[in-house]
């Protein structure tokens, strides 16, 4: 398995799941519209008949914003809760969909159905929510590490009479924090994939195992992630160039810009799905041997809010696990997983086989 192969296969998987892609794209538009609608109404009320609107059509006037906020006072900020609610709901919805998306991508022959998708969404939501909380904590630690570096730099150069050492260090610090955040993002992507593929409720263990997985296969995991990241950067660059070149001085051209913008948004959704699809391919190919999995310590976790009770052995004896069938080898796998029954995961070496 190479990273390019993983990305290419992932792209095929995303394309086969075009209905999911469409659904997420439309939902993204819907959420953005809900968030922006109150602002658009306020804009229309203030500028709908104003000649200033025509004047500002070419170059946005910062003075209008100051004037507007001064005239409307706190009323404008009343829409802040709507914006925050939209963001939180969208995050939860994305978490919900991740379970379904990865479930589909985990089905090797690409025969996943809508039922598989929705089942994956529902079954994994609370687990992935816990992964999300772990990830937020990890991101916060990463940012704190960045702040710590900044504080150290201030201690070393902060009282100096030259600015450039701090600025140059600031670039390195920012690069470090960004790389750390990307690494965490990748680790938590694998944690999500593991939770879904292994059908496990043990999210903390999944995070630790995915961490080990990433570093055990550091070349493949980082290059796959990097390839998709590069693709998203290229897309952004193409959009930036195109957007800068397009004039916006007529209704027709505004419609053209609207189409370009929404195509770009659709492609961003596609790229986000590609992250999961490509990394799921990698995970399936490089999945750790069950015995190694079983030897890792088990972390007990609280039950999900759904009220399900899971009685999981604190640790399975390696010799006992070694005697099971591949699908049953995972110590934290739930035996009645319908998806696994229909589409049992192939062993690691089988993942290299060409797709049907």
């Amino acid at each position: 398995m190479t990273s390019l192969a993983a990305v290419v296969r992932g792209a095929g998987a995303v394309n086969r799941s075009w209905r999911v892609w469409l659904l997420i794209w439309l939902l993204t538009i819907a959420f953005a519209l809900v968030a922006v609608l109150p602002i658009a109404v306020l804009l229309e009320a203030d500028l709908g008949h104003s000649l200033w609107a025509a004047r500002m059509f070419g170059n946005f006037d910062i003075a209008w914003m100051a004037e507007y906020f001064a005239a409307t006072g706190n009323a404008t900020f009343a829409i802040a809760p709507i914006l925050i609610a939209c963001g939180v709901l969208y995050l939860l919805l994305s978490t919900f969909f991740t379970g379904g998306v990865v479930s589909l991508f985990a089905i090797a022959d690409g025969t996943g159905t809508a039922a598989d998708f929705w089942a994956g969404c529902g079954r994994n939501f609370w687990r992935l929510l816990r992964v999300l909380l772990w990830s937020l904590a990890a991101y916060a630690i990463a940012l704190l590490a960045g702040a710590g570096l900044a504080a150290a730099a201030r201690k070393i150069w902060g009282e100096g009479m030259e600015e450039h050492p701090l600025v140059i260090f600031g670039w390195f610090r920012a690069a470090f924090v960004v790389l750390l955040l990307l690494l965490l993002n990748m680790i938590f992507d694998y944690a999500r994939i593991r939770v879904v593929v292994e059908d496990t409720r043990k999210t903390a263990r999944s995070v630790l195992r995915s961490c080990r997985f990433v570093f055990s296969n550091v070349g493949l995991t980082t290059s796959t992630y990097g390839l998709v990241l590069l693709l998203s950067i290229l897309l952004a660059a193409v959009y930036w160039v195109l957007s800068a070149a397009l004039p916006r001085n007529s209704i027709g051209l505004l419609l053209v810009v609207l189409i370009v913008q929404q195509v770009y948004v659709a492609l961003r959704v596609w790229v986000r799905l590609l992250f999961f699809a490509g990394q799921t391919e990698v995970y399936r190919a490089m999945r750790p041997a069950p015995a190694a999995e079983a030897s890792a310590p088990v972390v007990e976790e609280p039950e999900s809010a759904a009220g399900l009770v899971s009685i999981t052995p604190a640790a399975a004896a390696p010799e006992a696990i070694a005697s099971r069938e591949p699908a049953a080898l995972e110590p934290d796998r739930e035996p009645d997983s319908p998806a696994e029954e229909r589409h049992p995961e192939p062993p690691a070496q089988a993942a290299e086989a060409p797709e049907a």
Partner: protein, 659 residues
């Protein structure tokens, strides 16, 4: 010999009587870097040019604002950062104060608090005299003082080996006799140092010798006369002299670069510019001709790449301020570029010495450091040459200078984009941020809270620090621009020139400016000053409604435009009505009553109507209601909505990337 003495005394008295030479300071100062301190001896000759007998003297000890947290400066919320509080406090002690060859006045020193009841504030002292100073007489004082500099704060202090030494010596207040400014009886005008105020002093001559370690590069107010070896080995003494100024500041740093150039009027001002300016001002060209100036920049080594930018900004200031208000009369101008962490010394003005401010990576698309340099140079004219009381009428220097600076920046550099930086890297070019002319930015700051204060007010008595800023800088800037739009460009140019020339080396008030406005324009503009300088009412005119219909059986449209006055202030405004056939009609409205209807009959319906269509009244707090169209404006709202949706989508997708 006696005849010569009488002649010299008479000459000195006559010289002092014009108000330009009330003080004569001779100071010897020694910088003690290990203590961040200055040991000084001051000989002050003070001339009593009033008709009063002076029985006491008052002095500013500005540096005591940084003595501790009890000073009025700190209590009012002045900038006292942790460095200051940890170990960087500063103070000034008067060790000895005596009449030259006479009585020791040191025991008579009393701390007074003319502005508040803060007994812990030590920024003003009073000294009772054993003998009064007669009208037309003078007194010579010998003063020993010790100034511990603070970690750089509020325009003065040290950081590392950088020293900006300002407000550093015992400085006599201003005796205002009856008839001076707003005075009805003689009194000392000697305010405490406040968090939001600057300074006020009489003109005179400074002769200052500064001793520093010999490796230090020194810059100061005035012309450097000589540099010689100091009394102690490894030290050097620099002597600076300047007449016709009311302050003296200096700087020292061993590592800065000293670069000099000459402002050459023949190269900087074209004959056409000279002719245009002379025509605009109604003066012969000989009166608007400029003189050479030696420009000295003390630059941080890490800003060496910005040398040309900084010199160009200085040349721009010397050229336009000189052409508009009169040639810069001094021989030198020194620009100090403070180091990183020394920016509290940046953006400040002293006679013939200003401080700028820039960052390591400069942005070619943003007018910084130009904005700071042109503004601080402008203070040579508004504060330096026209010496208003900054404590009591800060708009007369900061506001006049904002008006002048921003006009010059837009003229010389064009509108700038709003700056954008990421990790200190200027990215303005790449994000294509909106253009923002200086006066638009000023107006944006003003409209946020336009009624909170009247413009003319004691600087420490504004509602807040923000209000001090708005009412001292940006509001006067747009008020003067509005006044200029009402009077016309030529009249306004002549008003400003006349006011500047008439009040050079003197202390004018807002009323003095009003007198010049009325005199030069030939109009009574008291109504304008009452509302916008001495009042806090706001202007807000708008078009509230347009109707246009063709009655049955008639061939012409009957249209009506209703205009309203939403604000309290009254200004005559213009109404411009555009019809669907592209024709325009202009109407004048006195703007007095709360609303008015304007009716039109013609072959075309009204398409749009605008009050103040040329935006002459920058003080109008709501432009959005000034112009109204018959049909809704779909395109702009659509454009912004589609952009907002796009950016909301980007934000949502960014959020989703962690899920």
């Amino acid at each position: 010999m006696r005849a010569l003495s009488i002649f010299l005394l008479a000459a000195a008295a006559a010289f002092a009587a014009d108000g330009r030479n009330i003080v004569d300071y001779r100071i010897s100062a020694k910088l003690v870097p290990k203590d961040h301190a200055v040991e000084g001896h001051e000989t002050l000759i003070w001339h009593n040019v009033s008709k009063d007998e002076i029985r006491e003297l008052q002095f500013h000890l500005y540096m005591n604002a940084f003595r501790d947290a009890k000073s009025t400066f700190v209590r009012e919320g002045g900038r006292a950062d942790s460095r200051l509080k940890d170990n960087g406090w500063g103070h000034i002690d008067v060790k000895r104060l005596e009449i030259a060859g006479g009585a020791d006045l040191t025991p008579a020193i009393k701390f007074i608090h003319p502005d508040d009841d803060n007994a812990d504030d030590r920024t003003v002292i009073s000294v009772a005299l054993p003998q009064p100073v007669r009208a037309g007489g003078s007194i010579t004082l010998d003063i020993d003082f010790y100034t511990k500099l603070p970690h750089v704060v509020a325009r003065t202090g040290y950081h590392g080996t950088f020293y900006m030494v300002a407000q550093w010596f015992p400085k006599i207040g201003v005796w205002e006799t009856a008839g001076d400014r707003y005075s009805t009886a003689g009194h000392w005008n000697c305010h405490q140092f406040h968090a939001h105020s600057e300074f006020y002093a009489d003109y005179g001559r400074f002769d200052v010798s500064i001793t520093t370690p010999s490796e230090y590069v020194v810059g100061a107010t005035g012309v450097e006369q000589e540099t010689k070896a100091g009394a102690l080995p490894g030290t050097a003494t620099h002597r600076f002299v300047q007449a016709d100024v009311h302050e003296f500041a200096w700087t020292a740093q061993p590592t800065c670069l000293r670069i000099t150039r000459t402002f050459d009027p023949a190269r900087e001002v074209t004959p056409a510019e000279l002719a245009d300016t002379a025509r605009l001002l109604g003066l012969p060209q000989s009166e608007v001709r400029l003189t050479p100036v030696e420009m000295i920049i003390l630059l941080q080594p890490e800003h060496a790449a910005q040398t040309e930018r900084q010199f160009r900004a200085l040349r721009t200031g010397i050229k336009y301020f000189g052409l508009w208000y009169g040639a810069y009369p001094y021989k030198t101008i020194t620009l100090v570029d403070p180091p990183h962490n020394g920016m509290q010394a940046g953006g400040m003005e002293y006679p013939t010495l200003i401080t700028g401010g820039t960052s390591w990576l400069d942005d070619p698309y943003v007018h910084s450091p130009e904005g700071v340099i042109v503004h601080e140079f402008g203070h040579q004219f508004w504060y330096g040459l026209v010496g208003n009381n900054e404590f009591e009428e800060s708009w007369l220097d900061e506001g006049f200078n904002t008006y002048s600076t921003d006009t010059i920046l837009d003229l010389a550099y064009g509108a700038q984009r709003l700056p954008f930086r990421l990790l200190s890297v200027p990215l303005t070019r790449f994000v294509a941020s909106p253009f923002a002319p200086q006066m638009d930015l000023n107006r944006a700051a003003y409209v946020v809270d336009p009624k909170v204060d009247e413009m003319v007010r004691n600087a420490w008595q504004y509602y807040s620090g923000m209000s001090y800023g708005v009412n001292s800088y940006v509001r006067p800037g747009i008020t003067l621009t509005t006044l200029g739009n009402i009077l016309g460009r030529q009249t306004m140019a002549r008003v400003m020139r006349t006011y500047h020339q008439r009040w050079r080396y003197r202390h004018p008030t807002s009323l003095d400016f009003l007198k010049v406005v009325n005199e030069v324009s030939g109009r009574d503009m008291k109504w304008f000053f009452d509302q916008f300088v001495f009042g806090s009412n706001v202007v807000d005119y708008g078009v509230s409604d347009i109707t246009s219909e063709k009655p049955e059986g008639k061939k012409e449209y009957e249209s009506k435009v209703r205009v309203r006055r939403y604000g309290e202030a009254i200004v005559p405004v213009e109404l411009r009505v555009r019809f669907t056939d592209g024709k325009f009609v202009n109407r004048e409205w006195d703007g007095r009553y709360r609303w008015a209807d304007f009716k039109f009959t013609g072959p075309a319906a009204v398409a749009a109507a605008t009050v103040d269509p040329d935006r002459k009244i920058l003080l109008d707090v709501r432009y959005a209601n000034n112009g109204r169209t018959m049909k809704p404006q779909a395109r702009p709202v659509m454009k912004w909505t589609e952009n907002l949706v796009f950016w909301a989508e980007q934000l949502l997708l960014a959020v989703a990337s962690i899920a």
